[in-house]
Amino acid sequence: MDSTTQRHGIAAYRLRFSGSGGEYFRVWIVNLLLSIVTLGLYTPWARRRTARYFYDHTMIAGSPLEFTAPLRKMVTSFILFALLYVAYKIAAETGQDTVVSIFIIAAALLAPYIWGSAMRFRLASTRWRGLQLHFAARWRDVYVASWPIFLMAAVWVGITYGLDVLSADSVQPARAPGGRPGPAWPRVNAPMWGLIAIGLVLSVLCVIRVEFNYKSLLVLRAGIGKQHGRWKPVYSDFVRIWGATIVVFLAGAAVIFALFAGAAYAAWPLLRTIKGPSFLPLATILLILFLALVFFLALFLASAPARAYREARMFRLIWSNVGLSQIARFKCDLSHWAFVRLRIKNTLLTLLTLGFYRPFARVSEYRMKADAVTLHVKGGLDQLVGELVRQQDALGDALADMAGLDIVG
């Protein structure tokens, strides 16, 4: 293998996921049962087993990925996280507003730090052919990359001020001499709507920019051996994908709305008979609960294709435009509509099986993504020279995991 790659200059290796849904179901059910039996204490072991299963079966150029996070760090950080969470819950339940707001502000300020340390931990726990990945961003880089968040806050401060000025103009005569405005719900005129719309658009652009900054930082500062990541996508690529995603979401919402409207029309006579005075309070509560559930389910279903669409297009964009310095680059031919179809099928089957299809869904989506990526290497793979970096604290990992960040994809 080595000699052929040397001779032709560039060799292509298709990534391959060799796991199976049935096997992962077993991994998942074992994790679930042990978590139940240990009242959730098994979580770090469970996460490690899951990561190991996916890594063990992700074959790159004939060698699997290795997940080597030290278990002790995962356990201690999980316990620390659980304690913080319980403290926060207790503060929230007992109505200690100061403590709760301190928690929230601290979490917001620390979010970039947590993200950075989570990525550092994840990459440092990933090995391939004995070579460790690493993430070399300094904290300053991460906070600098977070500038759109601060811009967003500034935009909303400005808009609040602008709204005040506009409403003072229009509601001037209605204001009582005492100084307090009369109506509880302020009247909103056309310029104010415009201002709010501008604010929303700017906020979305800021959110996209944060995502772009973080993803590019992750790739540029990641490395294996002495080689660093290469990043080609530009901000407008991201904006285009988000724009298309919004269109897909609106289309999905229209379809779901039509379906639910039809169902509600058909079920109306039935609903009328339920109403009765004799068990009124309970029935009303159940009905409200049911309607809320239906609403969230509808929102979930309507957004599922759009979320899958964004995920697939983003995956393809990134994995077609990143590489490792001058020696390796990735290409991806993931079809986003095929991925959307797969996600819809998975969502429906997961709902029908009350969640028990989820391991199969996860494997099939991971497989579709992994199998779509090809690694092109210039020269030989043997050129990579590694250096070992020290492991960071795993707390960021635990926190980021709860927040749903995931390095895969």
Binding site: I36, E93, R129, T273
Partner: protein, 382 residues
């Protein structure tokens, strides 16, 4: 490394990536039993001078076996700072591991042996049932001790204001009739012996209110506020039942207050939410939410039975019969099922088709039977 040390098993061929280069070295590995599990011997073969190293059991990240039937294409063994090994013969590796006395952990055995998985499944199901049947009510009963009466009272005040606004109208019962019932209610309360109290230190402030609306009904709010509807008093009068029937109902409601059922329900829901969230969070939030609602209803039925038992004990202590209360309940349920309420003109069959699971009270005939049987024959714990 000389041949004199007689290896425990045939050496396995492997590739060693030393963590400095991605280039592999050809090595031979031998597993041998150690005090805490197998140890690993590594011999580099493609070097002029034969280098070797021994890794103790805890210096190696032993790869898990994912399936009893299907072998992976390659097994990787991480050696911490010394890189990784890749082994192309997974079956030979498993055999060597077993021969070297490897003892797989519980998770590993669940993964590859179905009986072990089923055994743990059984334990988990039993654990969940025990948590639901005893753990949560117990925890709620204990936690409720620490909930202050003031919190209950302020909650009840809010709830009462809301109910008054949404469903209830002022009572139209004559003031004398209200007063007569209140007097008997106070008399009943005076018979509340300390031995009947679930929480001896708990001193609720009892008040009896009358309202119209909501059909024949009575309910208790935490902290001691009781409400009885005019319709219930009228239903008792229509059936020709004395005040003992109404007092029985009040005794039942006092039971709710003394057992702090409202508070316990809140705490039980909280404990359940946390418990099921931890245990079933990975299945789906839909499942854990539905089970929380359904189990919440089941706890309410338990509370009703508890209050019935309390009513029996209190009525016995006040030397009043409980049969009239049973008749009142039976009569009311027959009115509801037999004759459609004329004003609404709805179908007669309007009981919930999901039956017991979606109702807050146990089935009426059973309750009535138990109340008629009285203290002696009842299923109440004594």
């Amino acid at each position: 490394m000389s041949e004199a040390t007689k290896p425990a098993a045939a050496p396995l061929r492997a590739k060693w990536f030393n963590g400095r280069h991605s280039r592999a070295r050809e090595v031979l590995i031998v597993l041998e039993p150690g005090p805490r599990g197998p140890a690993l011997h590594l011999h580099v073969v493609d070097l002029a001078h034969a280098a070797s190293r021994r890794f103790a059991h805890d210096e190696v990240e032993w790869p898990p076996q994912w399936s009893a039937g299907r072998a992976p294409e390659r097994v990787t063994v991480a050696l911490r700072d010394h890189g990784s090994l890749e082994i192309d013969q997974p079956q030979a590796w498993q055999q060597a591991l077993a021969a070297a006395g490897d003892r797989p952990g519980l998770a590993q055995r669940m993964q590859t042996h179905l009986p072990v998985l089923l055994g743990v499944l059984l334990v988990a199901v039993a654990g969940l049932l025990a948590f639901y049947r005893w753990g949560t009510p117990w925890a709620a009963a204990q936690l409720s001790r620490h909930v202050p009466l003031d919190w209950e009272l302020s909650l009840s005040q809010q709830a009462m204001a809301q109910v008054d606004q949404a469903w209830l109208k002022p009572s139209q019962l004559p003031v004398e009739r209200q007063q007569a019932l209140r007097t008997q209610f106070t008399e009943l309360l005076s018979r509340l012996e300390p031995s009947l109290k679930r929480y001896p230190a708990y001193a609720p402030r009892y008040e009896l209110h009358f309202r119209r609306g909501m059909g024949p009904n009575a309910f208790a709010l935490p902290g001691g506020t009781l409400v009885m509807t005019d319709e219930l008093v009228e239903a008792a009068a229509k059936q020709g039942l004395g005040d003992d029937a109404l007092l029985g109902v009040l005794a039942h409601e006092i039971g709710h207050v003394e057992h702090r059922h409202g508070t316990r329900l809140v705490v039980e829901q909280g404990v359940l939410n946390v418990g099921l969230g931890l245990a079933l969070g990975d299945v789906s939030s839909l499942v854990s939410m539905t089970s929380t609602v359904l189990t919440g209803l089941a706890y309410r039925r338990q509370h009703e039975s508890e209050s019935d038992c309390f009513a029996l004990a209190l009525m016995a202590s006040a030397q009043r019969p409980t049969a009239p209360m049973a008749d009142l309940l039976l009569g009311m349920s027959q009115t509801r099922e037999g004759r459609p309420p004329t004003a609404q003109g709805e179908p007669a069959q309007q009981r919930s088709p999901l039956g017991d699971w979606l109702s807050t009270h146990p089935a009426t005939p059973q309750r009535a039977e138990m109340l008629k049987a009285g203290m002696g024959a009842s299923s109440c714990p004594r």
